[in-house]
Symmetry: C2
Subunit: 619 residues, 2 copies
């Protein structure tokens, strides 16, 4: 426990207290008299104290905001019962992002410092800018600062209106980007955003302590021009206006998300000073105003992949005008900064364990490696796991069957439905369970053919195709039985084969076997629902021990937040891309062979499975 010393004015008495103690408690235990009528609940306002070093105490509480005026807070007044001592030397904090493996030090690009300047006179008639820069150099050692134009235009007015007592917002220890009257050092926010093809998700974060104030998301408004990336890119090229339309749709979505995050908490957008953005390459290009056409046609080159720092007005994003928008780097045409963020939040790039990270979607990004370097690829796994091209498929939303078991004796099907109640369809994790269970019950052979003469009425032939009934009409919220058809199974086989083949090509590149893989991370919302055992059973992922497989949740958003909270993480992202080898599967001569071989289902042990597969291949 850290012991701190505080000096009580006007007596000049020095008392000692432990870090975390409230000033009220510290006073009482040392016999310093202080009034309170509400029992330290922060209501009566009697225990006002003037704090000289705001850095040595906890930040202003909601309760204090109710009792004290903003002018009082700006002048340093606090409630002794609400204000806790903290070690001002301990400026670096370690942040743990949920669902993620690694912790890191809080080191945001944006910082606020207070400057109480001497007003000019004839003997000291420095320019305003030099006066401010001189103060910041002297008091904070910030010697390389300049003033961004947007802040420069207001500096004169703010300095004079505030009686030369201001808070400067500083970006990257390099530029003053905002200047505000009085002490606003404790009002400092950032927003991290993951721009997905279907969803835009974001978090509002305090940059002074790294805490998450709010998390929210909305549908990507571009969705009216197609569900997947290719249809968006096609639309972007359809006429002279459509690209700009897509751009303004996604920017509008980001701005709506900012409002959803800030407005309910009465946080002014001007107090949001930085935003980190991740997303797939197409979303990245479109929101940048860079046409994505080259991403969609061979050789699939992005226009730009480096990380970028842009001004909010360049993009039309409604945060503080002097703030910064940081876009994380891309990997390749089909591997975006969301993949970089995935890797950031798993920390695989600085781990000595060999990690396989898979983010399943219409395009599935796969990364294999460790601190010695990473190989990665993107494979066109199609929409089957997201419910597309599957008869009763649906996304993982309310009403979807997400978990399925089949009784190997009587072939009874038990299932779980998202949100409870009766099902209306089957989502990706349900599909994986169905395949695995059907194989386990010998209802499906290794080539993916439904065994039609199985002893259960759940398997039946309808209109020249065979299907398996998961839920009878009366068990559902539909007018029909929920089934999996032979065609559905073929779609799912294609999807899982693409992913497995991608993994296998990367393993070949790294010259490792599945036994050598230490961790398999399943990223993304979908990864959260998958049963790892079944994923392995159907040959979606390499054959590793189930204990090595981890669902890591929305690592893209977590990685974006890490980058928001730490410039070191941003630098690591840049360094990581240098250690990253992108494998273009389309240029791999043995990809087709791997893909076809992977459409088969494995035997319980992959060694035998592989042998059998090869044998059957010969048929």
């Amino acid at each position: 426990v850290v012991k701190l010393e505080l000096t009580v004015e006007p007596e000049g008495r020095r008392i000692k207290a432990e870090e975390g103690t409230s000033i009220m408690e510290a006073f009482r235990s040392s016999g310093v008299g202080i009034r309170s009528e509400c029992g330290s609940r922060g209501i009566c306002g009697q225990c006002r104290v003037l704090i000289k070093k705001q850095k040595s105490v906890s930040i202003v509480t909601e309760q204090e905001l109710k009792v004290l005026t903003s002018t009082e807070i700006a002048s340093g007044l606090r409630l002794a019962c609400q204000t806790r001592l903290r070690d001002s030397l301990e400026t670096k904090r370690r942040i743990q992002v949920e669902g993620v493996m690694i912790s890191f030090e809080l080191n945001p690009a944006v910082k606020k410092v207070r400057a109480q300047l001497l007003s000019p006179n004839l003997a000291n008639n420095q320019p305003d800018s030099a006066r401010l820069l001189g103060f910041l150099k002297e008091h904070y050692g910030l010697s390389q600062l300049s003033i961004r134009y947007i802040a420069l235009r207001k500096i004169s007015t703010v300095l004079r209106n505030s009686q030369w007592d201001v808070t400067a917002t500083i970006w990257n220890n390099r530029e003053i980007v905002e200047i505000e009257a009085g002490d606003t050092t404790q009002i400092i926010y950032g927003i991290s955003v993951d721009v997905g093809t279907s969803k835009i998700a974001g978090q509002l974060v305090r940059l002074d302590d790294g805490s998450v104030v709010a998390t929210d998301s909305l549908e990507n408004p571009q969705i009216l021009h197609g569900e997947d990336i290719i249809s968006r890119i096609t639309y972007a090229s359809s006429d002279g206006f459509s690209f700009e339309e897509l751009r303004s749709l996604v920017i509008g979505g980001i701005n709506d998300l900012i409002s959803k995050l800030c407005s309910p908490r009465v946080i002014r957008k001007d107090y949001v000073y930085e935003m980190t953005l991740v997303g797939n390459s197409a979303m990245h290009h479109i929101l940048l105003g860079v046409h994505p056409q080259s991403l969609a046609i061979s050789p699939y080159v992005p226009v730009i992949s480096e990380s970028l720092n842009l001004q909010p007005k360049d993009l039309g994003i409604n945060i503080n005008e002097g703030g910064n928008i940081h876009l994380l780097p891309l990997v390749a045409g089909f591997v975006g900064s969301d993949d970089i963020a995935d890797m950031l939040s798993t920390g695989m790039y600085k781990s000595d364990k060999l990690c396989l990270l898979i983010d399943i979607g219409t395009n599935t990004e796969i990364n294999l490696g460790n601190d010695k370097g990473i190989v990665c690829c993107s494979c066109a796994s199609g929409p089957a796991f997201e419910g597309g091209h599957v008869h009763h498929g649906m996304k993982a939303v309310q009403g979807a069957i997400e978990r399925v078991t089949i009784d190997s004796g009587n072939y009874d099907v038990r299932f779980e439905v998202i949100g409870g109640g009766k099902p209306v369809g089957i989502c990706g994790s349900g599909m994986i369970d169905i395949l695995a269970e059907m194989i386990g019950c010998n209802l499906l052979d290794r080539t993916g053919r439904i065994i039609e003469d199985s002893p259960t009425k759940r398997i039946r032939r309808v209109n020249d195709t065979v299907e398996f009934v998961i839920a009878w009409k009366e068990e559902t919220n539909k007018d029909e039985d929920i089934v999996v058809t032979q065609k559905d199974i073929r779609e799912l086989q294609m999807a899982k084969a693409a992913i497995y083949a991608g993994c296998h090509i990367l393993m070949e590149k790294r010259e490792v076997s599945s036994e050598e893989i230490d961790k398999v991370y399943l990223a993304g919302a979908f990864g959260n629902y998958i049963d790892p055992k079944n994923a392995k059973a159907i040959g979606l992922i390499p054959d590793v021990k189930p204990g090595k497989i981890l669902s890591v949740g929305n690592t893209a958003l977590a990685g974006a937040r890490m980058a928001l909270l730490s410039v070191d993480i941003r630098n690591e992202a840049i360094e990581m891309t240098k250690n990253l080898t992108y494998v273009e599967l389309g240029a791999e001569t043995n990809f087709n062979r791997e893909f076809i071989s992977a459409t088969f289902f494995p035997l319980p042990t992959s060694a035998i499975g592989n042998r059998i597969v090869k044998k059957e291949e010969g048929n």
Copy 2:
């Protein structure tokens, strides 16, 4: 004479020729066959040759632009009769700016380089940006480049439309700010501007060879809100809109000037990549959008004095969107970047000679020093030398008496009129002559009193005041005699006393006498007209030998052009400000004494003059 070698393909034959020779001449003198039907007049187009190294030949001529298509030129086709050999190693040129003492090396911030890239394929699917940056690093050693957002947005389209053959415009070896299809390396312009209170003057310059393409000026459109700085600042504070109005007036003026410079020469504004701006502190602040109020009230502090690099759209200036606007540093509230430019173009800051630089205006800036450092001040000399507050005063325009001599025998007055013809008033240089001549003829005593009982009818009393007739009504274009009144003389005494006192205070600060001054530079339009002998005779400037006094013309504009053509000069400007001591005359306790003493006119030798003055002071 430099001998150059050229290789003629496809034969691979090497021939030698002198620099400056046309390719046609070189071929013919070496016996290489080439066709021409127009006698080397660049009309027939028969002598087309493909030039591999454009840097080794002269730039495309107007005649070639008529005969060749832009695609042909971009691919390297030229007319042998029009294209001259040049030494591509001689990239650094020394520039001599007219009316100015020093020469410097051409080293503009903006450069153009051509990049002929390989188009991407599956084996080499680098992003566009990395492909371009990699090429520029490999071929030009530009390893620290990034791409400005504005160029980034168009890079994909331009690369593909040009078949991967582009010209990149690079700022400060740091940022790609523009990308153009084909070879435009020889189309590269900049504009330097001096924003004065009454006039905005500018020059259009080629950045590849430093040559001046055009010089032009226009009236500062703000003039409708007052002639002088103080009335502009007063107007700026008059209501909520007036400041923005002043800003848009001066920006509009600058944009009009750009049009005047570019349009007659059919030069697209997009080919102007940089602008340097100098001006007094008030003009500087207003065009920046920074309110100038603090300049006008004690302690007269500027908001910002550092040099600035801004984007054209920040200020609303119509040059290439990716270009740069460089504002030179200010010295103080009343000493602007025009004064810095004056010093740049005289080179006094790097001379070992002690120089006194005076730029006379309503505010007169005075600089005294050398490479050991400079002291400077601004004095409120008032408008008398510009014709203000003087009965028949006027600016130095058509119809103004600019030169006057008085016959010491019969007191006849001879004068010269600007533009010839009959006069309508007297400008500053005429006023100086009149004072000097009246003293020389004993028509004026040392206190500035007109000696009323002089034996000439030109001196007369009208309405309780004494005046001296310069031109009789019939000699003028007016309905009355042109006269100098006793009150006019008092105004002129105040003006010259302020300037002289300023010089004297600076000499005291440097602890130098007038004998130690090596050069006196009279800058500005007004300085050009002054008779140095008379300026000395009336005690406007310190008593130095007439040969040491030089009129240096529009040094502000010359300095702005030097900064446009050389980043070294910009750095010297910044270094200079560190070696510069600003003296606030209002804070100098002995300024008033110096000022009063300087209102007297000196005796022919200043030593005696000073003694007499002191004696008379005692009266």
